[in-house]
Structure formats: C-alpha cells, structure tokens
Symmetry: C3
Subunit: 210 residues, 3 copies
C-alpha cells in the first residue's frame, strides 16, 4: 500500500516534469500561444501513459481520474509563466525530460506488471511509456524524435525498466529496484547527452530512387 502511494507520487512527478518540458519545447521550437503550450505540455506528459493503457487494453488512467490532467496543466502553466527562471538553469529541457523519462520507465513497467504481463513485456511497456510522450511531442512540432537520434534515449529507459522489473523479482525488497532503475536511467541519459556516449552508427549512401 505504501509502495502504491510512493509510485503514484513518482508518476505525478514524472507528469509534472514532462509537462514542464513540453511547455518549454512549445515556446522554443514553435511560437505557440498559451493554449498551444498547455496542449503540448499535456500531450508530452500524458501521451506515454495513454499509449501504455491503450496497448494494455485498460481504461485510460488520465481520463478516469482528474489528478493526472490537473498535474499536467499545472506543470505546463509553470513552464509558461516561469520560462525566464528555467532559462537560467543550464539545459532545462534536458533536466525535465530526463526526470520524466526516468520516472515513467519504472512506473510504466510497474503498471504493466500489475496488469498481469510477464517480465519481458513489462520491461518493453515501461520503455514505451517513457518514450511515448516525448515522441508525440516531437512528431507534433515536426522534429525527428529524440528516440531516434543521438545521446541515447530509449536505451536508458529500457535499462531502467529492466532493473526495476528484474530487481522486484528477486524478493521483497520494496522500492529499491524502482529507485535503482530510475537512477540508472537518469545517469545513462545524462551521460549520453553530456559525454556524447552513443551507439554505433551506419549510413547508407543515398541511392537516388526507390
């Protein structure tokens, strides 16, 4: 029960962080008015969870209860009104994106486990939950999604979800695996961006047509 509350808190923190990130993205990458900022903040914050619930065939959590939408709205409004403050942070978009990614990969995996999925699928769904909102955000503002470009995006989420899921199978160790998973995800993501870690690349020479 107590773990349930902690996980809900972590999920709402993730919603808040992604809403802030989406709002700041809306103001930087496109010149949007207040409602556009709110809309992009809510899509970024709630999109991953909606995709997760639809894939699970479960009722969509953010339509069932009000606090998800309320938290996303507050987060987006905070981004809209406080963007000058956030601009003084180094890389505010990265900070909030990483926070949302790390929190959603573990909570998404837990929701999938609670819905009865086996470990492998729960890990995958944790990753999808984490990257879903940001992928919708990028598609809407017409950027190649973060998930496809440098700096590791999906891999940290996959690793975080795997640590959380596999760790919780070891025994009754409470929230430790979830927190370890979130920490690993954040570290990998930040390392990927700040240190330029990246996976091997390959490029086709452009054959003109086909």
């Amino acid at each position: 029960m107590q773990a349930g509350w902690v996980l809900l808190t972590l999920e709402l923190l993730g919603v808040f962080a992604f809403a802030l990130n989406g709002a700041l993205t809306a103001m930087r990458d496109a010149t949007l008015d207040l409602f556009g900022v709110l809309a992009l903040g809510c899509v970024t914050a709630l999109g991953g969870g909606v995709i997760r619930d639809v894939l699970l065939g479960e009722p969509v959590a953010s339509l069932q209860v009000w606090w998800y939408l309320a938290t996303a709205t507050v987060g987006a409004l905070a981004g809209f009104s406080g963007h000058r403050v956030f601009a003084r942070m180094g890389r505010p978009l990265l900070v909030f994106d990483t926070a949302g990614l790390s929190l959603f990969c573990i909570t998404g995996a837990q929701v999938a486990l609670d819905a009865g999925l086996p470990a492998g699928q729960a890990i995958l769904l944790g990753m999808i939950t984490a990257v879903g909102g940001g992928t919708l955000r990028d598609a809407i503002v017409l950027k190649i999604p973060s998930i496809l470009t440098g700096g590791l995006y999906a891999v940290p989420a996959l690793v975080g979800a795997a640590i959380a899921v596999l760790g919780s199978e070891v025994g009754d160790v409470g929230l430790l695996p979830a927190l370890l998973g979130a920490g690993a995800c954040a570290a990998l993501r930040a390392g990927g961006v700040l240190r330029g870690w990246h996976a091997p690349q390959a490029r086709l020479d452009p054959p003109r047509n086909s």
Copy 2:
C-alpha cells in the same frame, strides 16, 4: 430517440465537412493523386472519432457501420471533383474545418456521456474528438497542427463541448445545449481567425543545445 437521429445527422454532417476539408488540404498542401486525396479526407473525417472510441475502450464506430466511411468518401470525392467551385468561396478550408470542429465537439461529448463518463471527462473527450482528425491531417502533411498555432482551435471546441454537456445537465431541454455549443464553437473559431483573437504568447530565447 428523435434526439439520437438529430445527433447522428449532425455527426455525419461533421464527417462530410472534415472530409471535404481534408481533401482540399491534400490538394493544396501536397500534390496528391485521387487515392491520396481520399485517404487524407477519410483520416481527417474519421480520425477524431476513432481516437475517441479507442480512448473510451468502445468498438470503433466507423468500423462497425458503413455510413461513416461512405459519407467520408463522398465528402472527399466532392472535394476532389469540385475543388474549383470551392476555391471561389472565401477560405473554403476554414469554413469546412470550422463546421467539422463545431459538430464534432458536441457529438463527441454526447458519445462520451452515453458511454458513462462524468461531465468533466466528457467535455475533454468532446474536444479531443473535434481536434483529433485535424491534428492527424496536419501531422501527415507535415504542418505544425492547427491545435498548436494561432487563431484559437482547441479552445472553441472545449467551450462548445462544455456548453453542450453542462447545458444538458440543467434539465430536459432537448437539443438546445448542443446547438448552442456548436454555435459558440463556430463563433469563437471564426472570430479567432478573422479578427485575430489569440491567447497570450511567450517565447523562450533559443538556448543553443539541450
């Protein structure tokens, strides 16, 4: 019962208007052949309802019965064959988009109420139904979606859905709230574009990376 028929008629009118708009968009913003025009018309016309049904966990209406797809196809064909006629209207894209938006925000909200959702969620789902098709249309032809840019798009749909839902809770007033809601949505949307009404804006100075 009679209200049911009126609402179905309004919904099919909305499908027709959005299909026309999608077809004209396909011919203006991208050079598409007949089948591309049909495809974009159908996605614009039926996308919002599909998203609504998937979020509600209900069977997708436009796969259950044939008249939605038939209406969308006829609307898109009308746009394809009559585009010279429509071009003589001032702003045909705006006219049909506003009609679809106004009709879908009230019918989408009503479908959500009929599915047992409380008022708040029904209003939200009415808005999502109204803006969903146009957002898919813009994503496909690679425009920043109307929902995010100037001239008020999501807000009129939200206001229209709210009037329809809250009005219908007042008492047995028949279709009056729905028609008032659709009218308010159309007025706000048209005012937003023609008069340049817009919400407050803010813009982040571009910090180079993050």
Copy 3:
C-alpha cells in the same frame, strides 16, 4: 490448422521485410545510431499490426508473444549490418516495402475475419494493417507518407485484401485466395513505381490564407 501455420509464416516474413525496410530507411533518410535503427525497424514492422489490434479491441499480438518482436529485431539488425549488401540490390527499400505490404494486407484481413468482422471491414482493416507501419515510419522521419504520394500504395493493399477476403468466401479453396491477393498487391505496387502508373491528380491553386 495448416493454413494457420502458413499464415503465421507469411506474417513473420512480412514483419522481417518491413523491419529490414525500416532499418534501411533509418540509415538513408536520417543518420541514426544502432538503437534508432532498431526502433524504426520495429515500429515499421509492428506498427500496422498494433493499429489493427487496437482498432479491433483485441490484445496486441506483438505484446502477447515474443516471436514478432524477435523477428523484427533480427530483421532490423540484418538491415543494420548488411546495408552494403542490400545497397547492391536495385531499390532494396522498394523490394522489402512491397513484400511487407503484400503479406500484411492478406494476413491483416484474415485476422479481422477471424475476429468476426464482416467482409467489407475486414478488407479495410487488411489495408490499414499493410499501410500502418510504413505510415508511422514516414511520420517519424518526417516524410510525406507513401500512402499519400505517387506510385499507388494503399490501392494495391486494398485490392490484395479484397481478393483474399472475397476469394475465401467462394468456398473451401485453402490458401489460394490469400496467395493471389498478395501477388496482385505486389504486382500493382511494383507496376505503380516502375511503370509510373498513377491515379488522376488535381491541385488547388494556393489561396494565400485560411
């Protein structure tokens, strides 16, 4: 029973072909690292089936069993590591895209029939299954989707699904209609690209705003 195994084999061949295509697209149209290539390969290969299952309200097949994801991963890895070999084929993207399209239009229609849909909707869903993955692929790398541009894309899938569905209603003719449908789809698609077959076009003169 035997037909079931043949259809599963055809579906996995389609997954493999689309994963290869998605991976090669990722390397040609965007400079992605290994994980980006894997992600785009899997989205291309599994997206159509996921959309099909969500529209049907069925559990998502590629989350229920592992072989879809495994096949997609192997296909994307084959594209990543063997891209120089494939580049020596004429138009490798077209070959694998056509293979996936032809196989998915018949298997998607069959899944829809097995789920109890009538013939018309099953044909439509076969087409959606076939074009869904490629449409997601194009949206993610920011191309106008193949479904909307020249060379016939959705029409061959529609024709292939129609032959498979209507043929199977004629009587107990085994897999013949499915194979005929896949062949017709491949022939139409290849003819569309190589011979420049296309449907009638029309274009609106750009009215500046609306």
